[in-house]
Amino acid sequence: MKVLVPIKRVADPANANKVKVAGSEVSHDGLEWVMNPFDEWSLEAALRLTEDASAKTRTGEIVVVSIGPKAAVDTLREAMGKGAERGVLVDGEDTALDSNVVAQILAKVVEKEQPDLVLMGKQSADGDSNIAGTKLAELLGWPVINYASHIETSDDGKTLTIKRELDVGVQTLKVQGPAVITCSDRILKPGTIKNGVTPADFEYPDLGDLNSRLSNLKNIMAARKKPLDELGLGDLGVEPVRVDEYVGFELPAGRSGQAQFLESVDELVQKLQSEAKVL
């Protein structure tokens, strides 16, 4: 199975307090870049789909693709350190992208790579638009399933049985590949991926608060030598059209930092209802 995993680098959400905005621009000065956590979930799912975890061998191929400046190579190498076989960097400026541009570029990459599956983050931790995956599927004419919590492949790998955890219960869908799938964080739990190769009783370690597996130094070194293509938009023959226009950004109002001590739970509930109006 060949899986394409689009990966975006985002400013480390842990540094949110360092973000500076000016008009329609968000300043990236002094921020550290990390892999979009939502993409990490999908990468982890893709890794589990394409390996024999028990024998610690790879059984399929993962191509990670990112759109960004040269420095985004680090994020692709990170993904390759975790196990992805190849990387594709499409030249682009972080501030020049919106979900539509991303979907149009990715559609061209999909045409070129012909994967069996695109597994991507349901959103990015910076823009939170939640559009690119669905838009990509529309451009490709592929089925799209968002917020997958379980993925099981048929013996020939063509049919996927996917579960989605919704407020009303668990929905099970069957889909013929190729398809676009986005994942929820439930996908990181043990036993959520069945690929017919990893023994059914294999227990993945609990990742805790991690968004995907760690890679060790050996794999980090090996990732430096894995193939990585750098493409311009011209190479892909695409002139993406931007739909969104960023008009302005504002930081959220600072918190007062004031604490109030209450005497009882009843009083808390009452205040949450009448003052905070969150209940």
Binding site: V34, D74, R77, E78, G81, P205, G208, D209, L210, L214, S215, N216, L217, K218, N219, I220, M221, A223, R224
Partner: protein, 383 residues
């Protein structure tokens, strides 16, 4: 605040830092305070660190490691201190860093298979035992005796200040197999459970609380002769070689601890207000912080130079001693000022800098005292 790196660092170091950062934030930082107070971290952490490939950094793949060299070890340790914020946990997890190199360098293939690989997988804990209750710095005078008897050595004596000693599965132990002086010393791997091997005391310390430290005694302890590392009576050179890298580890830890204390202090002084403005609004605060940053940068530069030279094959014991003293002094001074700038909170156990201040005090003593370092420097300088 600029995040500074060693001059020797390349892309792979940054990638390694990123992985260690994630591990440390996830597995260590949430428990840093509790483990220090409990004077122990859970044994399972070794397995987790082994699984994540952290214990194998700096060890060749042939012995079960993940490759890399001293530069990667320093960077991994720094990131673990910076993001895990528990020096005790880091030094406990890293005690194999001084216990295994003599086995990797002088051990037989069978010894490497038995002792190195399981430690790097996090299944076994390794410790190094050189210091004795009767003397630490004077290694050539050590008194723990190992007498050959058939296929065994019979070991009698005591060792103290042994990091990870209370739960180590084996201890790389310096013993006297020959006459007095440095020519009579050997290294023997002594396994936990060997009759006559006792953990006589778990020691209470000023700092490094999360790491256990033990006093060990050997009473007629029969150790198979196959556990001898290298040739009999040739252990002193192995110990001395090990000391050079240990000093660079310790210098690296000092840089890391000082850096953490500095970061904590910058963050604190940027939000703490007094007399109507932030502490960083006062020139005295900014100048103190500038001095801290300068001392760390200097210590980092010298430590980094020493590592780079070591990796080029230059063995410069004098420069390693200078690096250790420079980094130690920087660490002690920076942690002291970090507490000062935190005011009363700096004296409270719930603040990271209070812990670092106590942790820092070890470094001018452990791994060769500040005074012994100066002796080495004087000797190498030829006066």
């Amino acid at each position: 605040m600029k995040k500074r790196r060693y001059l020797f660092e390349a892309e792979a170091h940054e990638a390694l830092r990123a992985e260690i950062r994630k591990f440390s934030r996830n597995e260590i930082a949430p428990h840093a305070h509790a483990w220090d107070e409990a004077e122990e971290f859970p044994r399972e952490l070794y397995a987790k660190a082994g699984e994540a490939g952290i214990l194998g950094v700096g060890y060749p793949e042939a012995v079960g490691g993940d490759g890399g060299d001293l530069s990667h070890v320093l960077v991994a340790a720094e990131e673990m201190v910076l993001e895990g914020k528990s020096v005790g946990t880091c030094v406990g997890l890293g005690s194999h860093g001084i216990a295994l190199p003599p086995i990797v360098s002088f051990g037989t293939p069978a010894q490497k298979e038995r002792f190195v690989a399981p430690v790097l997988r996090g299944e076994k804990i390794a410790a190094l035992a050189i210091t004795e209750p009767g003397g630490g710095s004077d290694v050539a005078a050590l008194r723990t005796r190992a007498v050959r008897d058939g296929d065994d050595y019979v070991v009698d004596g005591a060792k103290t200040f042994i990091t990870s000693g209370t739960r180590a599965d084996f201890v790389t132990t310096a013993v006297r197999t020959g006459g007095p002086g440095h020519g009579g010393i050997s290294l023997l791997v002594i396994e936990r459970g060997t009759p006559g091997f006792h953990v006589s005391k778990k020691l209470k310390k000023t700092g490094w609380w999360a790491s256990d430290t033990a006093e060990l005694t050997f009473e007629g302890c029969r150790v198979p002769a196959e556990n001898l590392l290298g040739r009999e009576n040739a252990g002193f050179v192995a110990i001395m070689m090990n000391f050079v890298t240990e000093r660079l580890f310790l210098a690296g830890q000092c840089v890391a601890i000082a850096e953490l204390a500095y970061r904590e202090t910058v963050a604190y002084t940027q939000q703490r207000e007094a007399f109507g403005k932030k502490l960083t609004g006062f020139q005295v605060t900014r100048h103190k912080l500038a001095d801290m940053a300068s001392r760390i940068a200097a210590a980092r530069a010298l430590t980094g130079e020493c590592v780079a030279r070591y990796l080029k094959g230059e063995q410069d014991a004098g420069l390693a001693a200078m690096a250790k003293n420079t980094a130690t002094d920087a660490c002690v001074a920076v942690c002291d000022q970090a507490v000062q700038l935190h005011g009363g909170y700096g004296y409270m156990r719930e603040y990271v800098v209070e812990r670092l201040y106590r942790d820092a005090r070890l470094y001018p003593i452990g791994g060769g005292t500040r005074e012994i370092m100066n002796e080495i420097i004087a000797k190498m300088e030829g006066y």
